[in-house]
Point group: C2
């Protein structure tokens, strides 16, 4: 099932056709406040009243023309302006391939740098998302270059299913980084990735501990646990407490529409919770990866489709 869904995510034939089907558009509504910025901003305002922060991302990846990368940049700048105007302390998560990484690394650097500067004016972190393993090295290098150039308010996403991540965490820790740890949602081979849920979970716990230990040792690191695995989050909270850390030593990021009851419960219990609001017309590949991530989501999707 997972492999099939991840294959569908990459298929351009299906990418051109599935989004036109009315039932597919209905199904994706569960995970997306809407296709435009206004819908996302309205959802963010609703979350604010529940003490749940948000993280915006406009769907889309692998742009093939510089104009498209510039348009994405323009969209994000407008979004940050809109947040400032509404007094929303929202942050952004961007995919480097939607800002031109497939085209030119230096121009991508410039676009990310501009968004980081604009985010700093909103007192927020700009998060760089992580894509398939073909981009891991370049994403981490770009992160290091940007931090080295003085952009202190940058965060990066690391994936627990990759075997290399143990080394990447240690490499980044001296940079006073912000790291969002996710399990990983692409189809990676066993030579570079753990493939069983047990192994990925164990690695996730070990990586989170590495960051919590750094935090307990007085190093500056902002930790975001990007997972819907509440049991794992609570287990790690126990370890954080054992290390003498406060509840806000880490934050929890979950996707819009997934386990909202748990997002609310964790927020009520004093966890820092941030809902990732993904929106936009280019939802197809992203949505397929969400279904692949949690088989139960397929059931939800089918339920939406049935009358």
């Amino acid at each position: 099932m997972r492999t099939l869904l991840l294959w569908l995510a990459r298929s351009t034939w299906f990418r051109d056709r599935i989004p036109r089907l009315p039932f597919a558009r209905r199904a994706v509504r569960r995970f997306m406040p809407g296709e435009d910025m206004e819908a996302a901003l309205d959802a963010a305002a609703r979350f604010r009243s529940e003490q749940i922060g948000v993280l915006f991302t406009r769907l889309g990846e692998n742009v093939t023309r510089d104009e498209d990368a510039d348009a994405t940049l323009g969209h994000y700048v407008a979004l940050l302006d809109a947040c400032a105007a509404r007094g929303l302390r929202a942050e952004l998560s961007v995919k480097l391939t939607q800002l031109g990484l497939d085209l030119d690394e230096d121009r991508t650097f410039e676009r990310v740098a501009r968004l980081a500067d604009r985010s700093a004016r909103n007192a927020g972190v700009l998060w760089m998302d992580m894509e398939g393993s073909a981009y891991t090295d370049r994403t981490i290098s770009l992160y290091e270059r940007l931090v080295g150039a003085g952009h202190a308010n940058l965060g990066v996403c690391l994936q627990a299913y990759l075997r290399r991540t143990a080394v990447d965490v240690q490499r980044l820790l001296p940079l006073r980084p912000a790291i969002r740890l996710v399990k990983g949602a692409y189809d990676e081979p066993p030579s570079i990735a753990f493939r069983t849920k047990r192994a990925v979970d164990a690695n996730y716990a070990a990586l989170a501990m590495a960051m919590l230990e750094a935090c307990a040792a007085g190093q500056q690191v902002r930790i975001a646990l990007g997972t819907h695995d509440v049991e794992l989050v609570e287990q790690l909270a126990g370890h954080a407490t054992a290390l003498g850390l406060a509840r806000d030593a880490f934050e929890v990021n979950m996707l819009y529409g997934i386990r909202l009851d748990q997002q609310r419960r964790l927020a009520r219990e004093g966890y820092v919770v941030r809902d990732l609001l993904a929106y936009g017309p280019a939802w197809y590949a992203w949505y397929m990866r969400r279904l692949a991530e949690r088989p139960v989501n397929v059931v939800f999707a089918l339920r939406q489709v049935l009358p």
Copy 2:
């Protein structure tokens, strides 16, 4: 299956009858070199030639008379003498209830102290095993008392399935401890223990990381990973390397007769491996817990029984 086997482990009715059955005696041979000390010493000598260390434990627990606790003490002293005479660098793992913990804590303290002193003469650590959760507090307290009294060559076993262990590790780390981390083999309720394999594995990884981080920070801690989960061991080895630790920063402990091929492979690859040799006539409860731990062991046991 696990619950049934753990119930069988506690049942005195079955404990009196099963060990008399010839097929049961044949089945246990897989996990036990023999019932007497000589058989264990011979097995240890064979392991030495394969660069695999050993850890002895004489089976038996919950003695109800001081004479039995003293007899266990006498047996272990004789074993340490025999090791010294044969030039074996073997270590012991003892259960506190086989040294009288159900009877009197101070006399148990004295017996453990004597074994620790005798082990120090062999330049070895004396390991205190961990039993069911009714003994966790007393075992840890006794460990602290003994270390406080100057017994620096003492180790203690902690169980990753217990929720409290995150705190116990942090509590013990300042003592320059030796800690053997196991998943845990008793039947504990969900209020105090993680019950799914995924949660136990993730907690195991987090706890091992806490110890590896302490080691990387220059604290003195001897780490033994008591598990047959080779994937988890290799995953943690990756984290140890990422922390800049050498391969011998931790050791791996596995039971006699379980995954011997892996014990040999790990030893060849430069891991410090120690085989836990459990022996003696009182094997019943211990053997049932071994079967409960890994369902595949039941298959092995049945195979031994069939012609």
